[in-house]
């Protein structure tokens, strides 16, 4: 009786996970259509930029890094989501992670992919990209960036792929009975990706061993990636970037914005694919607590980054800080500090604030705030160099991204959404075997508890009988 119950449950899990992969509704088509349109426009803008040079953007000699580099840092920051949720929760053996690991890992993969493309878009001579390999200098923070992002990208691809192997086998086996589009292609894809998985004990053993190794390795890689990204700023002698706390500051910012991104992914897939049974409000509450903790850590580092130089008001840092606190950037700066750091803390500290809707809205604020914060880190510092900006053409002394930069950035963002959508249409968005495992563990736990209660009840009856 219990066995058949559990097999029904497991079958339900599989059905729920796999259903989205064979349904292409109208909404999906419209969604994808819009995304492709934006991506195509972004591509057109990029080709325009290739023909006319970076001068077609708003960047000039003082603000030589603008929206592209800010977005690059932001995307790499978001990529810390998968590592956090999957690896750290796996290591700490948190059972509730099971339905959300895949979407978190996917978010990492995709944001790394497009984050890695952003610096290439920002290059003056992308045709000379191979010079990085041929003439690379190990002393350059930019080369460390390239290497660590490639390493993290490989690692997160593997980390995404490994738990997918049993699911690929499941998809491959089920393909015969379900009615979907592109059957031949899918058959080839699932078979190829399943690596001949048949679920033998040996295979499970290898998989678990490798997953453990990967979980352990990916955490320091992820920390090093964002630290190295911060080095392209911190290794320069500019007031505002010449700070010793940049490494931890960027990692904390990445974790906080990445985990907010995971919540948004959870909310989206829950709604879109009707996974309400698996991704419960309890998941949101727990993830909300994690985001709260990370936001507090980020707020602490943020405070250090600004209060320490503000106390001293050294000459050139003073110019920059006055501009941020009271000058042209003050509106944005204070809105960010209160709106995207303090306000989320207040909301998430309240259990009611960790319900699905308020939490999702808070996370949208956090993610957008994190993006704008990266811009605030990059651009005002470049407008306050040591040498005064004097007698230069008007467009050199101010910066706001123009249509080319917006188009290419929005194109990349829609590229992220396209890859996520297509992925979720091909592969299950929850790790089926992990959720099944979770169901079995829960079932076993309940069964053991029932047996325990039964025995205790019998014991009590016997002792009462013997007394009587």
């Amino acid at each position: 009786m219990e066995n058949s119950n559990i097999s029904y449950e497991l079958e339900a899990v599989r059905e729920d996970c796999l259903r989205p992969t064979h349904k292409w509704g109208l909404v999906t088509k419209i969604w994808l259509g819009c995304l492709f349109a934006v991506a195509a426009w972004g591509l057109f803008a990029f080709i325009f930029q290739l023909r006319h040079g970076l001068g077609s953007t708003a960047m000039r000699n003082y603000v030589s890094w603008g929206l592209y580099i800010s977005t690059f840092v932001f995307f790499i920051g978001i990529s810390h989501s998968g590592t956090l949720v999957s690896a750290i929760l796996r290591i700490t053996k948190q059972e509730w992670r099971r339905p959300i690991t895949r979407s978190a890992e996917l978010l990492t993969f995709v944001s790394l992919l497009f984050g890695g493309i952003m610096p290439i878009i920002d290059l003056g001579r992308p045709d000379r990209l191979l010079n990085l390999v041929i003439y690379g200098r190990v002393q350059s923070p930019l080369l460390w960036d390239v290497i660590s992002i490639c390493t993290y990208f490989t690692g997160s691809t593997v980390f995404l792929f490994l738990p997918m192997i049993p699911d690929m086998a499941l998809c491959r086996d089920r393909l015969i009975i379900c009615d979907t589009k592109f059957k031949k292609f899918r058959k080839w894809l699932y078979t190829f990706l399943a690596l001949g998985w048949t679920g033998t004990k040996n295979q499970w053993h290898i998989l678990e061993k490798v997953m453990t190794v990967m979980t352990i390795v990916i955490i320091p890689v992820a920390v090093s990636v964002h630290t190295v990204v911060s080095y392209i700023f911190a290794m320069t002698l500019r007031p505002g970037w010449d700070s010793t706390v940049f490494g931890p500051y960027f990692v904390a910012g990445a974790l906080y914005s990445g985990s907010a991104g995971v919540i948004l992914g959870m909310a989206f897939f829950r709604k879109a694919y009707h996974l309400e049974k698996y991704i419960t409000p309890r998941h949101f509450d727990l993830m909300g607590r994690i985001v709260l903790a990370l936001t507090l850590i980020y707020a602490y580092l943020n405070l250090n980054e600004y209060w320490i130089p503000a106390y001293k008001m050294a000459t050139h840092e003073g110019f920059l800080l006055k501009d941020l606190f009271f000058g042209s950037y003050s509106g944005v700066f204070w809105t960010l500090q209160f709106g995207s750091v303090l306000l989320p803390i207040i909301i998430m500290a309240n259990p009611k604030g960790r319900q699905i809707l308020p939490l999702s809205i808070t996370c949208i604020i956090i993610v957008i705030g994190a993006w704008i914060k990266r811009y605030i880190i990059v651009v005002p510092t470049l407008l306050h160099p040591y040498m005064p900006i004097q007698e230069v053409p008007a467009d050199w002394s101010s910066y706001f991204p123009n249509w080319v930069e917006w188009s290419v950035t929005m194109g990349c963002l829609s590229g992220i959404f396209i890859v996520i959508t297509l992925f979720s249409k091909l592969f299950p968005m929850m790790a089926v075997w992990e959720v099944e495992e979770g169901v079995e563990i829960e079932h076993d736990r309940k069964a053991i508890l029932e047996i325990k209660n039964k025995r205790e009840a019998e014991k009590r009856l016997r002792t009462e009988a013997s007394v009587n």
Partner: protein, 320 residues
Amino acid sequence: MKKENESTNENRRKFLKLGLLAGGTLAVGVAGLEKVLSKEEHSGMDKTVMGNDGKMYKTNSKNLKECCSAPVSNEEARKGIEGKKFVMVFDLSKCDGCKKCTDACQEMHFTELDREWIKVFKMKDSETTAPYYLPKPCFHCDNPPCTKVCPVNATFKRQDGIVLIDNERCIGCRMCMAACPYSTRFFNWSHPVQTPEVAAMKYSPEQGYPRRMGTVEKCDFCPDMLRQGKMPACVSGCPMNVIYFGDQNEDAVTNSSGVTLKLSQLLEDNAGYRLLEDLGTEPRVYYLPPKNRKYPKPEMNSGEKNGHKHKEMDMGNMMM
């Protein structure tokens, strides 16, 4: 009779139309041609020079340069001139902010006019200290932040102390521009504006031209002139004898009038210093403080005293 009148009327109209049309086109055409012919080209005047055959030739000064030797190879450009360590000294008490150094440099390197490889700043270090003119080239630092961060070794330091850029290797990441604390580097954001003659020249890192889009450029201490024993364009072009240039190994620097002084003595007697010394970049350019200045101090607008509100470059007066 009527028919004849009609036909003549028609012919008349035809003739008038044709005539007016022809006359109008002629007038417009000539006016247009005149405009085209009188369009001024890049600055440069007619010069008469003697060719190698002893005959006199008329040419445009843009085609003439102080030195026209063949540029050295990339490997030689990366090594530099052996046994030399070039330094530059600016005597700020003599600088009157005329910017002739900037003009000489821009003419020598065919630079676009918004790019000042040597830039004359009006500095006022604080509210109570005096304003002064500060010409700033690239300092060719001995602990250069720019060469440290270049990922492809496109900017490099040579054994004679000069830091150059190889625009055939630069990938345009602009990390060096972010790293330089003296705002010395410029980027070729769009297609470079250069004449076909310049664009056809053979590239060498020692010349800095022809330029390539998407690469970085900066003051290079004119190494092609140094190989010929001539001083950089800004040094010779300074009418106030502000700029001294020389070899630190020889302990001597020379200015545009040929006055040669012992470098160590000059710095000691005049309390020479370097800009932003505390950053540890070890610049190769020294400044002699503007004591007993010969020329009036610069006018600073109120915003400039804080260092960051400034007058914009007058692009209208420039021919680009």
